[in-house]
């Protein structure tokens, strides 16, 4: 949605909703306007303003200027010094025009990050941060083949990853909470992005390769396939070549 007073977009979620209205993190006002007391305290609102400013910069640097971010904080029954909770949200959409140029590819989809953090203040100027992150991913590709007789392929990838981490950091000031939470979020997003590709998306490659073999290659190397389980053909060939080289050395 668009906050007309601040001329900025913000994300709609259950964490900034009251009835059918949503609070903008930029102006702290509800749209459509309602009389609501469900807002962060003045002290927490100051922290929320700075969090939105900083998270907006983070979002632009990693996701581009067309991505939208929002941070919503809420009190846990007391002031900032008694702990608080919040959510840090990112929404990035892609919508490329589909064309029919051979060997071209168009992409649509989204990346949504939902980070929910609980901050408990400990003694000795420290705080415990419990972060739960969910990444929702959707990629829709239209791939035009080089050879028109092979048709156009539509590939849809969709899924989610969730991870929780907790850390204890020193917090000499209220602003250090934002730096501590931001660093945890950045580290977790980097890890999830890496896992999304290397563990999950590439795993589907192994699944497909396990169904149809190339020119009977799995049958020729049947023993290696049995020994190596469901690894992909390239890994099997490399390891087989290495083993054959060792056998030759020994003989």
């Amino acid at each position: 949605a668009v906050d007309s007073s601040a001329n900025k977009t913000y994300i709609l979620s259950d964490h900034n909703r009251e009835g059918d209205s949503y609070r903008s993190p930029w102006s702290n006002a509800y749209y459509p306007p309602i009389k609501s007391t469900f807002k962060p305290s003045r002290e927490l609102r100051a922290l929320e303003e700075q969090a939105n400013e900083l998270f907006d910069s983070y979002c632009q640097m990693y996701y581009g200027k067309d991505a939208v971010s929002s941070v919503y904080l809420w009190n846990n029954g007391g002031g900032v010094n008694e702990g608080f909770a919040g959510c840090f949200l990112i929404k990035k959409d892609i919508d490329e025009v589909v064309n029919s140029i051979p060997e071209s590819r168009s992409q649509c989809g989204y990346w949504n990050s939902i980070h929910v953090v609980d901050v408990n203040i400990l003694s000795g100027g420290k705080a415990k941060y419990e972060l739960s992150t969910t990444v929702l991913l959707s990629i829709d590709l239209v791939c035009n083949a080089k050879d028109a007789s092979c048709g156009t392929t539509k590939v849809s990838i969709g899924g989610s990853l969730t991870k929780q981490v907790e850390n204890i950091h020193s917090c000499p000031s209220d602003m250090s909470h934002i730096a501590n939470i931001g660093t945890m979020i950045e580290n977790l997003e980097i890890e999830l992005r890496s896992n999304m590709d290397s563990l999950y998306i590439q795993k589907t490659r192994e699944v497909i390769d396990g169904i149809r073999c190339d020119s009977g290659s799995q049958k020729k190397h049947g023993l290696m396939a049995t020994m190596m389980g469901s690894g992909n053909g390239d890994q099997q060939n490399e390891m087989q070549a290495a083993l054959m080289a060792r056998f030759k050395q020994k003989s």
Binding site: E53, L54, S57, Y58, M61, Y62, K92, I94, Q107, Y110, W111, L137, I139, L141, C143, A145, A148, C150, G151, T152, T153, K154, V155, S156, I157, G158, G159, S160, L161, T162, M175, I178, A179, T183, E189, R193, M196, D197, S198, L199, Y200, I201, Q202, K203, T204, R205, V207, I208, D209, G210, I211, R212, C213, D214, S215, G216, K219, G222, T226, S230
Partner: protein, 236 residues
């Protein structure tokens, strides 16, 4: 109490959308929430098997000689034995009887279900073959649907759909064309996988910012940068 029509509609959608090999797992979860009749369940199962092509695995649907009007059954079996017979793969094919236009449909279905290793996949290909009047020239077209699911500490599905355009060939060229199509669909996917970390995912989220360094979580620093940017823009 029987499930309402809305509940049945949603349940049917969930079952028809189930990943390979998981129809019964989803059905088990649904029966804990809703009262589903045996007739409704079996009708939905048949629709699911028909849509996904899994019906080819039903033993009673094994090709009957009278459906092999084009004499392609042996060639199709050899093709499956060569490419879809790896360890853990269950595969089969069926030939339809010719329809009113004389078109024969070959359904090829293969699946590899490894739920204990948290993954499953299926390959469904339908080839539509029309014989010309000379009985030596054929027009073939078809579709290929690949479906993969991995769900260890996460949940991700990939679905690839190819609409194969009509091609004319002689009888000996039919399986060459089928093999060409199958390999092209795999190569297209491999191109996607190769471009995934660098190009495709990067459009959504960069690995590192343009500065190639981690973000500095300091609000004053970023305010200064933003102010500089505004001043530069105003001067221009």
């Amino acid at each position: 109490m029987d499930a309402s029509s809305d509940e049945l509609r949603i349940a049917k959608h969930l079952l028809l959308s189930s990943p390979p090999g998981q129809f019964d797992l989803i059905l088990q979860d649904l029966t804990e929430l809703l009262s589903l009749s045996q007739d409704w369940t079996e009708t939905t199962r048949q629709e699911h098997n028909s849509r996904t092509g899994r019906e080819a695995l039903d033993s009673f649907k094994t090709t009957q000689p009278e459906n092999d009007a084009l004499g392609l059954q042996d060639g199709m079996q050899q093709y499956i034995d060569q490419f879809y017979d790896s360890k853990g793969v269950t595969s089969n094919h069926t030939f339809s009887s010719p329809n009113e236009d004389g078109q024969v449909t070959i359904l090829l279905y293969a699946e590899r279900i490894q739920l204990q290793q948290y993954h499953a996949g299926s390959w469904t290909a339908r080839y539509f073959i029309n014989a010309h009047a000379d009985r030596n020239t054929f027009t073939i077209s078809g579709t290929i649907v690949l479906h993969a699911h991995t769900f260890e500490n996460g949940n991700l599905q990939l679905k690839s759909t190819v609409d194969l355009p009509s091609v004319e060939t002689n009888k000996s060229g039919i399986f060459q064309q089928i093999q060409k199509w199958d390999e092209a669909s795999v190569m297209t996917l491999r191109g996607v996988y190769d471009d995934m970390p660098g190009e495709i995912l990067k459009k959504l989220r960069r690995v590192t910012p343009v500065t190639r360094t981690r973000f500095v979580w300091n609000v004053e620093g970023h305010r200064g940068i933003r102010q500089l940017g505004v001043e530069v823009q105003n001067r221009e």
